[in-house]
Symmetry: C2
Subunit: 170 residues, 2 copies
Amino acid sequence: MLNLKTLFTLNYGLYIVSSVSKDGKVNGMIANSVEQVTAEPVRLAVTLNKESLTHEYIKQSGLICVQPLTEKANMIFIGNFGFRTGRNFDKFARISHKLNKEGLPVVTENTAAYLILRVINSLDLETHTMFICSLEDADILDASVPTMTYNFYHQELKGKTPKGAVTYQK
Amino acid sequence: MLNLKTLFTLNYGLYIVSSVSKDGKVNGMIANSVEQVTAEPVRLAVTLNKESLTHEYIKQSGLICVQPLTEKANMIFIGNFGFRTGRNFDKFARISHKLNKEGLPVVTENTAAYLILRVINSLDLETHTMFICSLEDADILDASVPTMTYNFYHQELKGKTPKGAVTYQK
């Protein structure tokens, strides 16, 4: 028995994952594949599709900004980051954000926090790369609203899982 | 700024993670650190403390059973698997379960599904090991109740995070 519906019983959050290229261009995407993997020292794992532009920028800068979405984020906001490439579109053009000292974009609407990560190791997973990261800088932005779970995105917002996501099923 | 409270804005599920030793002994523990990492082929990552007995058994058998808890699981049930070692206590003695063909324990109460994993790679994370696994066998056990999130465990059940967990903070 290999019932792939069991994979939908795993729980995740939903995050904006962004980075900066070597010449200062920014890009971000939506991902569920972020987790803390050790406590002392603090290490996080971020797993992204190799074909994504954000993956390319992370390879260049070694830096990642992770931001948990709050339940205030709607499908228009999420769709700005997901379901399209940033190769011919500035995803941050109409999004409230600031650039940190390394040029990483920190979104200041619909996000609960920012976590600035530095890649210290990576694991090749064929279609995806898992980046193992230290935590360099982090703060809470909005604690007034619950963070968005992947279940909330699917059930309340009727969101889809795009091809290329770690949890995609045909 | 390095506000470690930001780590609590990441979302997880809560799972029984169990294994079998080379001489057929079984043990299980509670963990939040389970995620799917690629879709084609399906691969999952399970990150466990090196000092845990379940970690020792996984090293011996190369097999893991992951079971998402449902919201029906109470603190007595969870406490049976968490907060204590199986080195001098049979955690499955009073828990409804069956053994699969490889001798892995599949808990049949308070779990939404079972996922039988085979370790195909591992990543050393100092205090923890991340096991990268294929999915060998899986089915739904109870779809009538929501699966338990780590937030539900903390907020509704007032559960604690024990030392040794990937998300532990002093």
